[in-house]
């Protein structure tokens, strides 16, 4: 660094922003600025999302028109679609990688990574994350794991194909399935790096929220977004290491001949030496992460929804404390419900009873959240921006998908719908679609903060309405497919005449899925063109209360010129009136958090 830069930095008191001479590499690539890192997360996540969704369209086409030849299969799958007909192993590989990419790379890193990074420092009034370096490391490990996962698609024997849950022995034995060779090795390596990345990120988020809140920002004044990100990070720290241990033990079984998960196996004409391990142990370890993972995906989406909904309803979020309590209750319960994925795994039925009990309990805080969202809309002045529509859409799919959880969480009822399309419909609505809506709501809402420009609202409306209709069109009829007894992960249903009459439904679902996929191109176009040609944003386009809108539009490392703003109220003083029924600040229906209490104003901190 040059001498002048030193002098320049010394001139500023500690409270001031740091102006470093940034090179291209430190600004755009190995950046330690949380805002740039959040953009890196978002764009990487969206690219992975594009791959994941494209895969789902391919296997949906196979399901609707089984055994049919498509030129598009040959183009994308090459030797795995001889003559344009998809290979059965490839089908399983597509299903597996679709699940892996969507759950981990899009909805964990793409959603939580993007918005935790963007919003935690900006909304709590911090210059940056507690450790910018670890934050950078976290992103680049995520990037490396994404690259490895994509590389695994090009392995000769095919990528991992044992389902995203990679239950051994299928995932452990290359002779059981070609994808369990090199493809699975790369999958495990990629996920191990991903977990390390996620842990670095989460620890950083936790420390930042606890230590770097600005003056006046007590925990009970935190916006619900931050509460959600904070608690998500805590769950991640608790559960991701367990997945790492599962992955490590599986690597041992695969490569070093240990028997953690394997026992008594006779395959392809010979007995293997494995003795004494149990696949059920793997299921426990996997779901100890796997279920909290659902909430790692969902809580940030709910947090974003709380913020977007309150801002656009011009009303405080209803029941702030109940919302925080629900987040905490969901987080706690989420770590003790994993067994509901294993009711019929062969574990002791008594355990099934315990997990039924805890699982159905989690419906209570979820119901409270849903009711609170609905009440937030009541008597509001709803500004139906695209972000707001996606938030309302999220509540809708969260309810629809969540309700069927009452069936799946009940060990008795799970018996006959376990692993059928009923499950697929349930979790896609409640965590897949809902979390995606949260991601979209976040992108539309904070795009001006990230890219200094506005996204086109009309394209946003087109995007939302087509997506909303198609999401229900895909997943509502799918419940019936499951209740008819069709198992998931079937390459085709033609081997069972009893499923013949379901061919129609599958065509309908696939048509909706393709239309929904095309609608995402509208978003993609809007996103890219708005980055370059969007209308330049105002300081506070949505008239929001939170601190990020007090920071200058121009990005620089440190967020605020001069002193960090102090906080004097909670984040939800929308349409607050004094005794005479006038707005607290005349002519303005919102009071940002950095505005001191006015004379005679009562702090209504709920």
């Amino acid at each position: 660094m040059s001498v002048t830069a030193h002098a320049h930095a010394d001139d500023h008191a500690e409270d001031h922003a740091h102006h470093h001479k940034e090179t291209f590499v430190t600004k755009y690539i190995f950046s330690q600025d949380h805002k740039m890192i959040s953009k890196q997360y978002l764009i990487t996540g969206l690219i992975m999302g594009f791959i994941g969704i494209a895969m789902s369209l391919l296997f949906r086409m196979q399901l609707a028109w089984p055994g049919e030849s498509f030129a598009i299969f040959e183009t994308f799958l090459g030797d795995w679609a001889p003559g344009g007909v998809m290979d059965a192993d490839m089908y399983l590989a597509l299903v597996t990688i679709h699940g892996t990419i969507m759950v981990f790379f899009v909805l964990t890193a793409g959603l939580s990574g993007t918005f935790s990074n963007l919003l935690i420092p900006l909304q709590i009034g911090a210059r940056d994350m507690a450790s910018g370096f670890l934050n950078m490391l976290s992103y680049w490990m995520f990037f490396v794991s994404s690259v490895i996962m994509v590389i695994s698609l090009f392995v000769e024997a095919g990528p991992a194909a044992a389902g995203w849950t990679i239950y051994p022995p299928l995932s452990a034995l290359p002779m059981a399935q070609p994808g369990s060779g090199m493809g699975m090795t790369l999958w495990l390596v990629s996920m191990a790096i991903f977990i390390a990345s996620s842990l670095l990120g989460s620890l950083n988020y936790i420390v930042t929220v606890i230590n770097l809140r600005t003056k006046g920002m007590s925990m009970t004044r935190l916006p619900l977004t931050i509460w959600a990100f904070f608690v998500t990070a805590v769950i991640g720290v608790i559960s991701f290491p367990v997945l790492l241990s599962a992955a490590l033990l599986l690597i041992m079984d695969r490569s070093f001949g240990t028997s953690f998960f394997l026992s008594d196996i006779f395959i392809q004409g010979e007995v293997l030496h494995y003795q004494g391990g149990s696949p059920v142990l793997f299921e426990h370890l996997f779901w100890f992460l796997g279920h909290p993972e659902v909430y790692i995906v969902l809580l940030p989406a709910l947090g974003i929804t709380s913020e977007v909904m309150s801002t656009n309803a011009r009303k405080p979020i209803f029941g702030y404390r109940a919302m925080v309590a629900s987040i905490l209750a969901i987080a706690f319960l989420s770590t003790i419900v994993w067994g509901h994925h294993m009711f019929i795994s062969g574990m002791n039925p008594f355990l099934g009873s315990v997990f039924t009990f805890t699982t159905l309990l989690i419906a209570i805080p979820s119901a409270v959240k849903a009711f609170n969202y609905i009440t937030t809309l009541w008597k509001g002045n709803l500004q139906l921006n695209p972000a707001m529509l996606f938030s309302i859409g999220l509540v809708s799919t969260f309810i629809t998908g969540g309700l069927t959880g009452i069936i799946l969480g009940d060990s008795t009822l799970d018996i006959n719908v376990h692993d059928t399309y009923f499950v697929v419909a349930h979790f896609h609505l409640v965590m897949g679609i809902s979390a995606l809506y949260g991601l979209f709501a976040g992108v539309y809402h904070w795009f001006p903060k990230m890219f200094k420009r506005m996204m086109n609202k009309n394209l946003g409306y087109v995007h939302f309405w087509i997506t909303a209709i198609c999401a229900y069109g895909v997943f509502f009829p799918m419940h019936f497919v499951g209740m008819a007894g069709v198992p998931r992960r079937y390459y085709e249903n033609t081997a069972f005449p009893m499923f013949d009459e379901l061919a129609d439904v599958n065509v309908l679902i696939t048509v909706f899925a393709i239309v929904a996929g095309l609608a995402q191109l509208v978003f993609l176009y809007n996103f890219i063109s708005s980055i370059f040609y969007g209308k330049p944003t105002e300081q506070n386009p949505w008239k929001s209360n939170t601190l990020e809108w007090t920071a200058p539009i121009e990005h620089f490392h440190g967020n605020w010129e001069g002193a960090i703003p102090h906080v004097h109220r909670w984040a939800y003083d929308y349409s607050k009136v004094d005794k005479d029924g006038e707005y607290i600040i005349p002519g303005q229906d919102f009071v940002p958090q950095n505005i001191p209490l006015q004379e005679d104003e009562e702090e209504l901190n709920h």
């Binding site: 399983l92 196996i265 029941g319 008795t412 059928t420 087509i466 439904v505």
Partner: protein, 352 residues
């Protein structure tokens, strides 16, 4: 069906074009350049939210109208009736809540659509309301939990009362085998390490175990109606799941351990074939298959209803075609069938 699809896609395309032209208009007129929702946007999207509510109800009604018939027929096992009843009650609760909450959500979205100058109500908290919607789910869920747990405990209580038939379900990539205990109704010891393909001992039975000698190994599962069956499941390679949807029964098959499930079949295959729902289903299916035959396609033979055992845990390439026929029949038919089967020791003797 196809017509419906085409119409639907056309409608979607029309909506898209309509919206696109609106965008075009707006961009041309330049009346307003703001990308923040204005009163007009709020109005349009408010109406659309209401229309969306109707869409949700519509697709619900459509699905029920169109797809109720594809659901599984009446349960063919003793606990299945109770299972179906609990399912029905849960569904009634779910649809009640779904109808109301979706209505409130979308109706509020429509009713309170924003207008310039309108004042929202500062309504941040209400203990009584929150108490009500916490306590109602608590009570309803408590009921469901207790009922579910009671049923679960009954189903999963696998015991030797009432002289159950002991049957082993043996899974491997990609087929099922069933083993009966034979005359003594006791399964002989077995382990994958004793598999001897050359001697056709494919399930790894202990040839020295006297209990094993009268075991019967078959590729078609026959069950006498009205007698409790205790299944012991084994797998020799990867995880599989024995899924018998008509009996509301499922259990994973795990290499290295023996898992169990138990049920009592109550309806014979012959009786089930006369069930009106099943008769209709067979008719519809055979119509589809006749069309296929007319087009010269494969997989078009007429179908006759049978109970079926499916694999329901991803197990590899042919997971989608791992099945075994189940036949429930009268005790006499069952006995006659058993008599016609070779025992393990007879099979061994015939090979050596």
């Amino acid at each position: 069906m196809t017509t419906f699809l085409i119409i639907f896609v056309l409608v979607l395309v029309a909506i898209a074009i309509w919206q696109m032209t609106k965008i075009f208009e707006l961009s041309k007129l330049k009346t307003e350049d703001s990308q923040v929702a204005n009163d007009k946007d709020n109005r349009y999207n408010g109406y659309l939210l209401f229309a969306f509510l109707i869409f949700i109800y519509g697709i619900t009604i459509f699905s029920f109208y169109k797809y109720t018939k594809v659901l599984l027929p009446e349960a063919a096992s003793e606990h299945g009736g109770e299972y179906d009843y609990l399912m029905l009650v849960s569904f009634i609760i779910i649809f009640f809540v779904q109808t109301i909450t979706q209505a409130l959500l979308h109706y509020f979205g429509y009713k309170y659509k924003g207008e310039k100058g309108k004042k929202a109500l500062f309504f941040a908290d209400n203990d009584r309301l929150e108490f009500i919607w916490t306590i109602i789910p608590v009570i309803v869920l408590a009921g469901l939990i207790l009922w579910g747990l009671y049923t679960w405990t009954n189903i999963m209580d696998i015991n030797d009362e009432d002289d159950p038939l002991i049957v082993e379900l043996y899974a491997q990539q990609f087929n099922w085998t069933a083993r009966y205990g034979g005359a003594d109704n006791v399964l002989g010891g077995a382990n994958v390490r004793m598999i001897d393909i050359d001697k056709a001992n494919v399930l790894g039975l202990d040839e020295a175990d006297p209990y094993a000698s009268d075991d019967i190994i078959v590729k078609e599962l026959h069950l006498p109606v009205g007698r409790k069956v205790n299944f012991k499941m084994r797998s020799q390679d990867v995880l599989h799941s024995a899924y018998m949807p008509h009996f509301r029964a499922q259990m994973n098959c795990v290499p290295g351990m023996i898992t169990e499930f138990s049920f009592t079949p109550t309806i014979t295959t012959a009786e089930m074939r006369l069930n009106p729902d099943v008769v209709d289903k067979v008719k519809r299916t055979n119509k589809i298959r006749a069309e296929r035959a007319a087009n010269g396609e494969e997989n078009s033979d007429p179908w006759e209803f049978d109970y079926i055992l499916l694999c329901n845990k991803i197990c590899g390439k042919s997971h989608y075609n791992m099945q075994m026929k189940i036949i429930v029949e009268s005790q006499e038919d069952y006995d006659a069938w058993v008599k016609s089967q070779q025992t393990f020791s007879q099979t061994m003797a015939s090979i050596q």
